[in-house]
């Protein structure tokens, strides 16, 4: 029998979610820079407000340009629905607050982006939501950390910045046994490198700012729902199953089934917290996604070149990337991401913190900044920047060392980046001189 002819990945990166404009035939997605949308009549307005029919009311809740991006991301991930947000952090926050209330508990990987770690460690406890952190390789730890009031497991498939790989299929089994969803930050892998839903995630969050947009121009995040999780099990998720007075007794799970989480996150989260994405950012991110496959392919190819260079460099004390045979997670990384486990490299520079700073200060082409996943190569010293608000114990838990350089491999000719690094390593041999400037 013939195979299904639904569109494949690359076609989706270019087309999903967008019907060419009927008024003017615009082939590109128009930027609907409008705060609000005309109602056809009073009945139509009331129907929109009561979720009786789809459509746009006000761009904090939804916007036509942003909606194209949302459908495109849903299509690429194979999800039932997506909610775009102002940033990756707001995606994470909304995903958690959609199901967590005061008195609830989260189990999270200890290998997280510093902002994510701080949200869980410092901010959510102020609202009565506590988190237990578990090292991503500690499967027994995940199991033991789950309490009766635990609402989800949160993690990153490719940990930041230690680049440990979470054994998502096994963690997912633990979560399923406990009747809770797994929420995974898929920023570092993107849907090109693996499908997190196939590996066991129930909800994916993204910082679209990074590889998805790919050019360091626009902030954005996304929450993607697989649509499979049964929110009605065990009376554990009242925000999904109980009648919501804010929408005339609506039960999101009953009415919207596979899109219940997204509908609640939008109807309540965007209405009350409001971290919406701007239509111009959505347009920029859509443009980036059009070339996701070819960019990721090149990111991975360049990562191999740089790993070869770094592992043979006498000034480097260690190199951390899951594609390297000596990485503790090598086997699981290759199994879960056969195209390559991302384009983030961590390495230690001989001479420690001072040498690391000297190296970074000497960069001419490689950019020293707090971002990853740009088309341009980027470096940073996490201990003094992205993860600087963590105490010593937290740094150790996250696998951070003071000599660590985090390197986001870009799309330049790697010969030029190698020349830049050569200069950096030469400078790193004079750390005292640089440090005393």
């Amino acid at each position: 029998m013939t195979d299904p002819k639904t569109y494949k990945f690359n076609t989706k990166t270019l087309h999903s979610g967008h019907q060419p404009d009927k008024n003017f035939g615009s082939r590109a997605v128009p930027i609907y820079q409008s705060t609000s949308y005309l109602f056809q009549d009073a009945d139509h307005a009331a129907a929109l407000f009561n979720l009786e029919e789809g459509g746009h009311i006000y761009s904090r809740i939804s916007n036509p340009t942003v909606a194209v991006l949302e459908e495109r991301v849903a299509a690429l991930e194979g999800g039932s629905a997506t909610l775009a947000t102002a940033s990756g952090m707001s995606a994470m926050m909304l995903s958690l607050l959609t199901i967590c209330s005061a008195g609830d508990h989260i189990v999270a990987s200890s290998q997280l982006y510093g902002g994510s770690f701080n949200l869980l460690r410092l901010t959510l406890p102020r609202f009565g939501i506590e988190t237990t952190f578990v090292k991503p390789r500690d499967l027994e730890g995940f199991k033991n950390a789950i309490k009766p009031n635990t609402k989800c497991i949160f993690g990153e498939l490719i940990g930041n910045p230690g680049i440990e790989i979470m054994n998502l299929p096994e963690v997912s089994k633990i979560a399923k046994d406990a009747g809770i969803p797994v929420i995974i930050d898929g920023t570092f892998n993107t849907p090109y490198l693996c499908n997190l839903f196939d590996l066991g995630a129930d909800i994916i969050v993204h910082s679209l700012t990074k590889w998805m947009a790919g050019h360091g121009t626009s902030m954005g995040g996304a929450i993607v729902e697989k649509g499979e999780f049964d929110w009605t099990q065990g009376n554990k998720f009242p925000t999904m199953t109980e009648p919501y007075v804010g929408y005339h007794g609506l039960s999101f799970a009953e009415e919207f089934g596979p899109a219940a989480f997204t509908m609640r996150a939008r109807a309540e989260g965007m209405r009350d917290f409001g971290p919406c994405m701007s239509p111009t950012n959505a347009f920029n991110i859509l443009t980036g996604i059009e070339t996701l496959s070819i960019r990721m392919e090149k990111h991975i190819a360049n990562t191999k070149i740089m790993l070869d260079y770094l592992t043979n460099n006498e000034n480097v004390s260690w190199v951390n990337h899951p594609s390297l045979p000596d990485h503790p997670d090598h086997d699981i990384a290759i199994k879960l991401m056969p195209k390559g486990p991302g384009s983030m490299i961590a390495f230690g520079i001989k001479g420690g913190r001072d040498a690391g700073q000297a190296f970074i200060n000497a960069m001419k082409l490689t950019s020293h900044l707090a971002n990853v996943g740009d088309a341009k190569s980027l470096v940073i010293h996490p201990a003094s920047t992205t993860h600087s608000q963590m105490d010593k114990q937290s740094l150790e838990l996250a696998g951070l060392t003071e000599d660590m350089i985090r390197f986001s491999v870009g799309l330049e000719d790697m010969e030029d980046i190698i020349n830049d690094f050569d200069n950096g390593f030469r400078a790193s041999q004079k750390p005292r001189l640089v440090a005393s400037r």
């Binding site: 013939t2 999903s16 979610g17 036509p64 459908e71």
Partner: protein, 266 residues
């Protein structure tokens, strides 16, 4: 909402509203392998505009207890039994795809219980591709993938869901996959075996609306028009941009056609 029908748990949604005996009732019946969720962009409107809406999960689907029923006739009788359990003497019936066959048979077997009839993406018969039928009977995920491909027209394939952020393909896949534990195969089998469509259609005297999708590959508009031609008091409407999933691909158009039909005839 759950209650017992013939001793088994039956699930349906009223969009969170209490059933008001003074209001007219519309029962919504989904297509093969689907659930009540496929109706959300029609049922909520009617539930908040003077109707009792009863959007069912057929036995073995969604949250209704199994096993799935084996024939269209049994499904029609089950709807009748559900209405009796709810103490609803007369109801309008809106069916989609396989739900249209159930609607035809409900009208034929229980005419005293029917008010108005609306058949969306329907036909007099639904012979299944033997290979697709076998895949579904074997609970093969390829049956879901093929079905999701074929039920969507060009709009549904690319996207542009009426509800911002939702994916036609993703939503549909999840709904049908959740019923690919035997229910999808049973549904396809029931459709394939059903032969009483013409007799049932010709027996119907109730006012009937037939809605078709211009790009419907499962029940092309030609067979939809043939269905309408067999029902005495029927009216046909073709939605321009729709495939077989008119209730989602062109949800507002479908809702507006239903709204006009019910307003004109109540």
């Amino acid at each position: 909402m759950k209650l017992k029908v013939n001793g088994k748990t039956a699930y349906f949604t009223t969009s969170g509203r209490e059933i008001d005996k003074k209001q007219p009732t519309i029962v919504f019946v989904h297509g093969s392998g689907l659930t009540h969720v496929s109706w959300v962009l029609q049922t909520r409107y009617f539930a908040f505009h003077g109707y009792n809406t009863v959007a069912v999960d057929l036995p073995g689907h969604g949250d209704s207890e199994g096993p799935p029923l084996e024939t269209i006739e049994e499904m029609a009788d089950w709807i009748s039994d559900l209405l009796q359990t709810l103490d609803i003497e007369k109801s309008s019936f809106v069916g989609h795809s396989q739900g249209c066959l159930i609607g035809l048979e409900f009208a034929h077997r229980h005419p005293q219980k029917l008010e108005l009839l609306a058949l969306i993406n329907g036909s007099l018969a639904m012979k299944m591709n033997p290979e697709l039928l076998n895949l579904a009977l074997n609970k093969d995920s390829k049956a879901v993938d093929l079905m999701i491909d074929w039920v969507h027209g060009p709009l549904g394939q690319v996207g542009g869901h009426p509800v911002p952020g939702l994916s036609h393909i993703g939503m549909g896949s999840q709904l049908v996959t959740s019923n690919n534990n035997g229910a999808l195969g049973a549904d396809f089998n029931a459709c394939d075996k059903y032969t009483n469509g013409e007799v049932a259609a010709e027996s119907i005297s109730n006012k009937t609306l037939c809605i078709m999708g211009k790009y419907d590959r499962m029940t092309p508009k030609k067979v939809g028009l043939e269905l309408a031609s067999k029902i005495k008091n029927s009216k046909s409407e073709i939605i321009e941009d729709s495939g077989h999933m008119s209730i989602l691909e062109t949800a507002s158009d479908t809702k507006n056609l239903l709204k006009t039909f019910f307003m004109e005839n109540n």
